[in-house]
Structure formats: structure tokens, C-alpha cells
């Protein structure tokens, strides 16, 4: 109550035309940001044949969940063609599963192995520490495409093209950013807890596992969020090594769906339904962990 009245006081005090205009500008920017999502949803909710009727409308004509059911494979091909969809199908659930596995493998392994390395760089003394860390940092500068060609050749020679291990391999054990990010944090935590554990006879790995990881929950989650967003959205590498249907992630599936469209217009309503479904996990992440995501992103710029 007290807080609310204080807030309204502040607003009253600071109301002015300048304030209103600034809010208006912000509102316009928010609308520009949101509108494309809305158009995608509106299209996904429209019947395929209604697109020609009123392209400028902000509301779906004859709203229906038909396209979502189609994208999820709940409707037979004949039915969908009869309703004006193209005969093309997108095996959404399979691609969703692949994307989930791809993301989970990368996030869990990369965070864990990078944390181990970062802890050694921050806390242990060994010959070559600075040199190796310098090499890790230098790798941040190399453009992806430089590494992707030799990496593609390696994966091909291993016979790992179109396998899950080939798709996650380059991101599995480390990225320079992950090691760098966690080392910065480990440097800042007090040593006293680890020293106490050492006196109690805990092994280095025991200390790392039972003391260091639990107290580093926040930066670990921060890194895991950044990594999962990147893995979920990764396109280039899976596009090079994982085009087969069984290992296709959503981004690659959507690109293939779009570029292999038969002559004529793509199946926009189906495509927008699949597109919107692909965004939903990010929406969920934002609703559940929004504050954490924003802090992670703000932090990524504060190195």
C-alpha cells in the first residue's frame, strides 16, 4: 500500500508532456518489435484459402487451429490438401525432439567440462596455464566459417555426417567463451570454503563437485541459458553436417521446407504454424526465467 502510493506520487510528480511523448515513442518501438510475431500467429490461425481475402487485416479470418494440428501431424495428408494446404509435410515432432536432444547434450556437457577447465585456470597452478588460456582466448577471434570447413572434413572422414555425435562434437567439450566466462566468476569467489574442504580431506574433484559447483549456481545457470539459446537457434553447423531427416534440427528443417517448396507459393499458413511452434520454447523460457535471461544478456556485454 505504502509502496503503491509512493509510486503514484512519483508518477504524478514527474508527469509532463515530455514524459508522455517518451512513453509514446517506447510504445511504437514495442509495437514494431511485437508486430511480426503477431502476424506470424495470425497467419498460423487463418485457413489456407483465406490468405487472399484480406492480407492487411490484423485478425485471422475464420480462426482455426487446423494449421497447428497439421504441423503436429494430427491431420492426414489428404485432408490437408483438400483444405487448401500444399502436399508438403513437415515432420515437426521429430525435428522438435532432435532439437531438444541436440540442445540438451550441448548445454549439459559444455557447461560441465568448461566449468572444470575454468576452475583449474582460476585456482590451480600449473606450467603452461597462461599460455593455454591465451590460446583459448585467441580462438574467440576466428570466424566460424574458417573452422567449419576443416571440421566438416574431419566429421566426414570419421563417418559422422548425419549423426548426432557429428552435430554436437564441436560444441560438446568446450567453447572458449564458456571457459572465459566461468573463469571470471571463479576468480571472484572467496577461497575459504575450498580451503576448509581441503582441510577436511576432500579430494580436488570432491571440492569442485560439492562446494564450488553448488555455490556457483547463478553463473552456471546464466551460462546454461546463453548456451541453450545459441544451441536452439544454431543453423550453420547442423546445416552442413545434419540434413538427413532423422537428425534434422528445426532451423534446418524450416530452411529446407522453405527452399524446397514446389513451384508456386509456399504453404504460408503451415509454415507460420511450424515457425510459431518453434518459438514457443523461447517464450516459455522467457516467462519462467525472463529476469535471469535479461541479466545474462546484459552481463554478456559487461566483460
Amino acid at each position: 500500500m505504502a509502496l503503491a502510493s509512493k509510486q503514484s506520487q512519483v508518477i504524478k510528480k514527474s508527469f509532463s508532456w515530455g514524459y508522455a511523448v517518451t512513453w509514446l515513442l517506447l510504445a511504437i518501438l514495442i509495437i514494431i518489435t511485437i508486430l511480426p510475431f503477431w502476424i506470424a500467429l495470425k497467419t498460423a490461425l487463418s485457413t489456407p484459402s483465406s490468405l487472399f481475402v484480406n492480407p492487411g487485416s490484423l485478425l485471422p479470418t475464420d480462426a482455426t487451429l487446423f494449421n497447428f494440428r497439421r504441423a503436429l501431424g494430427l491431420i492426414s495428408l489428404e485432408e490437408s490438401v483438400a483444405a487448401g494446404g500444399s502436399g508438403q509435410s513437415i515432420n515437426f515432432l521429430l525435428f522438435l525432439r532432435t532439437t531438444l536432444i541436440f540442445t540438451a547434450l550441448i548445454v549439459i556437457a559444455q557447461t560441465f567440462f568448461s566449468a572444470m577447465a575454468a576452475y583449474a585456470f582460476a585456482r590451480m597452478k600449473f606450467v603452461g596455464r597462461e599460455l593455454i588460456f591465451f590460446f583459448y582466448l585467441s580462438a574467440l577471434m576466428i570466424p566460424n566459417i574458417v573452422l567449419f570447413i576443416p571440421n566438416f572434413i574431419l566429421i566426414k572422414n570419421l563417418g559422422w555426417l548425419n549423426t548426432m555425435q557429428g552435430m554436437v562434437a564441436p560444441f560438446f567439450l568446450m567453447t572458449p567463451f564458456a571457459v572465459f566466462f566461468l573463469r571470471q566468476f571463479f576468480l571472484g569467489i572467496p577461497k575459504s570454503l575450498e580451503e576448509a574442504a581441503k582441510l577436511d580431506g576432500a579430494s580436488p574433484f570432491g571440492t569442485f563437485w560439492r562446494i564450488v559447483l553448488p555455490i556457483s549456481r547463478t553463473p552456471l545457470i546464466t551460462l546454461a541459458i546463453l548456451t541453450s539459446i545459441n544451441a536452439w537457434n544454431e543453423f550453420f553447423w547442423p546445416f552442413l553436417v545434419g540434413k538427413d531427416e532423422e537428425v534434422r534440427v528445426l532451423t534446418v528443417a524450416l530452411q529446407i521446407f522453405r527452399t524446397q517448396t514446389p513451384q508456386g507459393a509456399p504453404d504460408w499458413t503451415g509454415l507460420m504454424a511450424a515457425t510459431f511452434l518453434a518459438i514457443i520454447p523461447i517464450f516459455i523460457l522467457m516467462v519462467v526465467l525472463g529476469r535471469q535471461v535479461i541479466n545474462s544478456l546484459q552481463f554478456s556485454g559487461m566483460k
Binding site: 577447465a117 590460446f135 535471461v293
Partner: protein, 311 residues
């Protein structure tokens, strides 16, 4: 004398032992075990491929037959390949369309946000496009900008503006791709600037107001200089990213119409994975790497990245 000659070898031996201990003691063995997984990943997928890319660039290799050493031929070919020069030109133009507008809009957004709200919801909405994959964003805009049925053309029609081809025209395709990526990145840029704004002490503005400074002067003489570290970070990382534009092109125009959007990474991709000219493609990727290093160093120099304006 006798004593000295007796102790000397002992000293030397212990020094040697100490060195050995430095490398092989308990702590460094543990440390090596801790970094081992990441080191394996680094060597296999970063260090070796970086060196290998350089080596492949001196060969002619289609992956079917053994690589043939051709010395500097690939680099010579680059110099006379009009497509390569076109790719550099298109990429440069793209960066010019993309970066200034994106940075200015991002800064504007941040200042506006800083004025009226600290709401995490507003920040969350504005940064949403950045969290969506390039592929999805490209598809949504491909649809919104469709020449016949797209929402944007219908909207322009309300004001009596003719239908625009956007991705389909030589003159509009590249600016359109830049526009799409400005939309995706402006909120994230704003978020970084916003975080930077929070670190500027409010007392500076109060003092300036007492001195009778107007809004613009405060922005020009307090905000901008104190935001420089953030600005450097934003510019350096977004320019490096912008030079490597690929995903949006792969989904929308695939280099066309004609050569209008054949950016450097797309052209490298075509050479490596469609024409199987591995040597030629890696040579171009090495050149791109060198260009990025030069651009980054120049920026650090121009923006005086190492000095701070606070104090």
C-alpha cells in the same frame, strides 16, 4: 673448498628436482585432469582446424582425390575473381546498411527506456527478437514482405504506396536483409546500452542541470563519453557478426537476385559445399579472417578502446 664441491651437485640436483616437481606435482596433475576434456575439444575443433584451414588454402582439393599442392594459386585466383570482389563489396555494403542504423536505434531505445521505465517486461519484449533464430526471423519477414499477400505491402497500400518487391529486387534485397537484422538486433543493442546507462552516476546529471545544461548537451557531454566502453563492445562484436551474415541469406535470397546478396560467407559456402573447391573456399575464409583482424584493430584504435572517460 671441499665442502663447496660437496654441496654443489646436491644443490643442482634439488633445483632440477624442483623443476620436475613443478611440472609433475599433485596440484598440476590434478589441474591437467581438470582441463583435459576442454583441451581435447580445443585442439580437435579449434586449434588443429585453424592451422589446417591455412594449409588447405594452398591446395586444390575436391575431397574425392588427394589434395594437390598449388602454392599461392588460390590467392592469385582470388585477386582476379570478379565474384570474390563482388562478394566483398556486397558484404561491405551490408555492414554499412546494418551497423550505423542498428546502433543508433539501439542507443535511442536505451535512452527512451532509461527515461520512463525500469520494467523488466519492457526489456523482455524488446529483446525477444534476438532470442529467436535467424531462420525463423527470416521466414516471418519473407512472409510479411511477400509482394502479393504480405502484410507490409497491404499496409503500404493504405497510404497509396505501390507494392514493393523487397527480397525479389536487385536494389532492395540487400537493404531488406539488413533491415531484418536491424529488427532482430536493435533490442539486444538497446539492452547493452541500457546496462551501460545504469552505471553512469545520476549525480553528474544533477550537477549539470544545476549548471543549466540542456538535454542535448548532457547527452553529448555526459552520456555519450561515459558509454564509450559499451559502445566499443557493441560496435566491435556487431561488426564482426555483420561481416559473417549467412543464415538470413540462406533462407531468403541464396545470393540472388543476380548477385545482389552474394555475401562473402555465402560465396565461401557455395565454393566449399556446392562446387567442392575446398582450397579456394578456405583461401577466401583466411582472407575474411585477416580482414576482420584489421577492421577490429582499426576500431580499437579509432575508438581508443583502452582508455576510459570516467575520471
Amino acid at each position: 673448498m671441499g665442502v663447496k664441491s660437496y654441496t654443489r651437485p646436491k644443490l643442482e640436483q634439488s633445483a632440477w628436482r624442483r623443476n620436475l616437481k613443478l611440472v609433475f606435482n599433485q596440484e598440476s596433475l590434478t589441474a591437467w585432469l581438470f582441463i583435459l576434456p576442454s583441451l581435447i575439444g580445443f585442439v580437435i575443433f579449434f586449434a588443429v582446424p585453424a592451422v589446417r584451414a591455412f594449409m588447405i588454402s594452398f591446395t586444390e582439393w575436391n575431397l574425392l582425390r588427394a589434395p594437390k599442392n598449388v602454392g599461392l594459386d588460390n590467392y592469385r585466383e582470388l585477386m582476379t575473381d570478379p565474384q570474390f570482389w563482388n562478394a566483398l563489396k556486397v558484404t561491405g555494403l551490408y555492414v554499412i546498411y546494418n551497423i550505423p542504423l542498428q546502433t543508433v536505434i539501439g542507443l535511442f531505445m536505451a535512452v527512451v527506456m532509461d527515461r520512463v521505465t525500469k520494467s523488466i517486461l519492457v526489456r523482455g519484449l524488446l529483446v525477444l527478437p534476438y532470442l529467436i533464430s535467424n531462420v525463423v526471423v527470416a521466414l516471418i519477414f519473407l512472409w510479411m514482405l511477400d509482394p502479393l499477400l504480405g502484410y507490409v505491402n497491404a499496409f503500404l497500400g493504405l497510404f497509396g504506396i505501390d507494392r514493393q518487391p523487397f527480397f525479389g529486387s536487385v536494389s532492395q534485397a540487400l537493404p531488406t536483409i539488413a533491415g531484418v537484422n536491424i529488427w532482430r538486433h536493435m533490442g539486444f543493442t538497446a539492452l547493452l546500452f541500457y546496462a551501460g546507462l545504469q552505471s553512469i552516476p545520476k549525480s553528474l546529471y544533477e550537477a549539470a542541470t544545476i549548471d543549466g545544461a540542456n538535454e542535448w548537451r548532457m547527452f553529448r557531454h555526459i552520456t555519450l563519453p561515459l558509454l564509450r566502453p559499451v559502445t566499443v563492445f557493441v560496435l566491435v562484436t556487431s561488426i564482426i557478426g555483420s561481416f559473417q551474415i549467412f543464415d538470413t541469406v540462406a533462407v531468403t535470397t541464396q545470393g540472388g537476385p543476380v548477385n545482389a546478396t552474394r555475401v562473402i560467407v555465402w560465396y565461401i559456402y557455395e565454393n566449399a559445399f556446392l562446387f567442392f573447391k575446398m582450397g579456394y573456399a578456405t583461401a577466401m575464409s583466411v582472407v575474411l579472417f585477416l580482414i576482420l583482424i584489421v577492421v577490429t584493430l582499426l576500431q580499437m584504435r579509432i575508438l581508443r578502446a583502452d582508455s576510459s572517460d570516467l575520471e
